[in-house]
Every structure is written in C-alpha cells, then in structure tokens.
C-alpha cells in the first residue's frame, strides 16, 4: 500500500485526508484515491486527466516525470505527496 498525502492548502476547499491505497503506477494510485474522494479529482487533475500545470507529485522523494500519463512506477509502501508547484506562485 502506498500512502498518499495532499498539500494542506487543499483542505481550505475540501476534505482531503491522507489515504493508503494500492497501485503500481501513480495513475493507478490516484485513480483509487479519487474513486474514494471524487470531488478532489478536479483539484489535482485537469480535464484530460493530466496533472494540473502547477501541481507536482513526489514518489519517495522523486518528482514524477510523466505528468500526462502518470505512468511513473510506485513501489510497495511508497510515500506519495501531491503538492503545489512554486511555478504557480
């Protein structure tokens, strides 16, 4: 199970507690998170299900590379952080 933690700034808009979910890629993990917390999906992903322009995802300390397909691998017990990018101000 990977642990997914969201930027605390999301809490201003909707509940988004950390979640433990399974999955071998970032896409699989986030799909499971958003299946349980559907309102949060549009805050992190755009209309084409790519990562929003000024959001970043770290998997075990490494920023993911595939912002469109979210195909970066996720190991068992990975720590995933969904954060705001400083590029967005």
């Amino acid at each position: 199970m990977a642990r997914v933690t969201f930027t605390a700034n999301l809490e201003r808009h909707l509940a988004c507690p950390p979640m433990d979910v399974s999955g071998s890629t970032v896409r699989e993990v986030l799909d499971r998170v958003f299946a349980a917390n559907q309102p949060a999906r549009g805050y992190v992903l755009d209309d084409q299900a790519a990562l929003r322009k000024h959001m970043v995802v770290f998997v075990d300390g490494q920023q993911i590379r595939d912002r469109i397909g979210l195909s970066d691998p996720v190991a068992d017990n990975a720590e995933i952080y969904v954060l705001q990018a400083l590029s967005g101000g």
Binding site: L14, Y43, Q48, R52, M55, G88
Partner: protein
C-alpha cells in the same frame, strides 16, 4: 430597479446593496470567497440563484452556486471531453490549445422559457450548455468542432476566449457569442449550427488584406438591447462597432472622444441608440486619457457622445475597466462599474452623477446587477 449587484474580484466576491433612499448609499453587504480569484458572477433573473466562477490557480477552475436564500455549494465546472487520440489542435502560432477549462469568462441564463438552461463561455474558446442549472455541463461540439474555430487566437490572453453570450429575448434558440479573437458567432437553432457574424468589423492589428476577416476580429465585449434585440454594440480592440440588423452587418463608430479604446460596453435595455463605454487611451497605453476617469455615453447611436465625469476621479486616475466590469440594471437608469485599481462606482441617473462605493477593492473583473 435593482438594489443589488455582485462584484467579482481578484480576491473575492462582494455583494453591494442599496440602503434607504439616498443615491449615494450603496454599501458592501456581504463578502464571499475572500482571497480567492473570482472571474465571473451572476444572479439568474429567473430564480435568483447566484453563481460564482473561481480560478484557484494551482487547483483549477471551479463553479459555485447558491439557490435563492441558500448557502454556497460547489457544483460542476464545465469540463472538456477527452481529446481524441492523435488530434492536433493548435492556434495560428502552432501553440497547443488545451482541451481543459482555463477560465470561465462568460455565464448567462438561457431564455425565460428555458428553465435550468445555462450557457458558459471559457478560455480556450469552448461554449458549454447546462440543462440543470449548473449541475452538469456539456461542450457545444458544433462550435468547438467548427473548422473555423481553429483560426481563433488569443487576444489579451494566451488562448482564445468566449466572453459574451447574448440569448435573443424573441427566440431563446437564437444565440450570439463574442470571441477574442474570433469575432461574433450566431446560431439560430439553439446551437445546432453556427455562422460568423462580424461583417464590417475592422482589425487594425492585421495586415491590410486581412483587416476585414470576420473570424479574426477582437470584440472585447458584445451586448444586445433587450427590447430591440437587432441592436447590438461591440467595444472592439480598436474601436466601437454597432449593428442594427441583428449582427448581419456592423458599422464602425468613428471620431469618439476622448478615445474609442476600452473593454466594456453597456446598452440601455429599451433605448437601442443609448450605450456607455469606459475609455482608455489605446491598446498600447491602457490608462485613462490625461489621468481622468470618464464614462462616455451616446444617445444617438454613436453620432455623438457625452463625456461623463461627475463623481469620478479627475487627477492621477489610472483605472481601467475590464470587459465584464460595467453593467446596467433592468430599468436602464442604474449603472455600476469597477476598475483594475479597485474603484467601484454606481450611478442612478444613467451616468450623469457617479457615487464611489469603494476605492480599495481588489482588481474588479465583473459587475452584475441582480
């Protein structure tokens, strides 16, 4: 007469109410979404539902609504459908057009006979329809898939934007929309088919052979007279244009003092020859002429203009009024506008005298009478 208007700003939504009988007694009664970027607001005249479009930056575009007397709740924001695999969608510079809502730039109720119907214009240029008061939205594919849509380009923004939606009071199936930059488009069948309707507009920013191409015009704002809907006005990037034949043709209004440049226009709901503008110097110099904030008003279809300055700052004023930030109420007597530097003024006599409601708001994007 309306005693209330909504002010959407860079840092929140403000509700302004009229108190008592004094013309100057307009006050901010409520502040919502403080700190958030509110790009557009609306009170649906049919049922009193309020709408607020938010742009959270990192977290994207959201839409909230509040039924009459109720609390705000998030509803669905218009979302583009999946882009087909291999589809190339680029503007004239080869820049990719995202199939994703970047900004809500227009929000209008459908006709009085269309309960629940809402229209929404967006960057990057898509028009959306809701049949359930904003619970769900669907992209109007007929316009989005029109081959000429790919000729549109950004004006004032990186992406094309659909900023004006006029539902014809005579026939709710007749729609006219304004696009920067894509001219004026009309549908006579509720959005089943579309035609560009900007014949006669001139684009000074194009080479001579392309200046009258209807599909590259930059109407900053399109408005329609309620009681004489064949009368339409456009504040364009390089001038003021008027149609008296339901947008079949447009005529440029020339020799406007102190300037014909601006973003906003309001038309009197029952006097089609009467319209208001808030001029800046020019496109490359977006400040009021001589540092004096004025409103211009024509009562004769653009043959002449009054310059209205009573109650407006006349020294070192650098306010610009964005395209949605000037509005007129249903009576045609009350106007309100807000500026980029946070000024907010209201008039109860068609602009002869202006009262300052605030000079310290965040930058104002939209002013809408309830």
């Amino acid at each position: 007469m309306s005693d209330r208007f909504l002010v959407a700003t860079r840092k929140g939504l403000f509700t302004v109410d009229r108190n008592g009988s004094g013309g100057s007694d307009w006050r901010i009664a409520e502040a919502d979404f403080l700190g958030d970027n509110v790009s557009m607001a609306l009170v649906d005249r049919r049922d009193g539902t309020r709408y607020a479009a938010l742009d959270h930056g990192h977290f994207g575009v959201k839409l909230h609504r509040a039924k009459a007397g109720g609390a705000w709740e998030e509803c669905a924001a218009p979302a583009y459908p999946p882009k087909p695999e291999g589809e190339v969608d680029q503007d004239q510079w080869g820049k990719e057009i995202p199939w994703s809502t970047v900004r809500i730039w227009a929000l209008e109720p459908g006709g009085d006979d269309q309960s629940g119907v809402m229209w929404c214009g967006t960057l990057p240029g898509g028009l959306f329809r809701s049949d359930d008061g904003g619970t769900t939205w669907e992209l109007v594919r007929t316009l989005w898939d029109h081959p000429q849509r790919k000729e549109w380009f950004g004006g004032g923004a990186d992406l094309p934007g659909l900023h004006s939606i006029c539902v014809d009071p005579r026939d709710s199936r007749c729609l006219r929309v304004g696009v920067s930059c894509g001219g004026v488009w009309q549908s006579d069948d509720g959005g089943e088919s579309w035609h560009c309707r900007a014949e006669g507009m001139r684009a000074a920013y194009m080479p001579p052979e392309g200046q009258f191409n209807p599909n590259i015009q930059d109407p900053h704002r399109l408005v329609q007279c309620r009681d004489a809907p064949d009368a339409l006005w456009v504040q364009h990037h390089n001038g003021i244009f008027r149609s008296t034949d339901g947008s079949k043709s447009w005529r440029e209004i020339e020799n406007v003092r102190p300037s014909n440049f601006g973003f906003a226009v309001a038309v009197h709901p029952s006097a089609p020859d009467t319209a208001w503008f808030v001029p800046g110097i020019k496109d490359e110099l977006r400040i009021p002429v001589d540092g004096k904030l004025v409103v211009t008003r024509t009562r004769d279809g653009g043959k002449s203009f009054d310059i209205l300055r009573n109650g407006l700052p006349q020294e070192h004023a650098y306010d610009i009024v964005f395209r949605h930030a000037l509005d007129i109420d249903e009576s045609g007597d009350r106007l309100a506008f807000g500026s980029t530097t946070g000024g907010l003024w209201v008039s109860e006599d068609q602009g002869d005298l202006w009262h300052c409601v605030s000079h310290s708001l965040p930058p104002v994007y939209s002013v809408r009478f309830a």
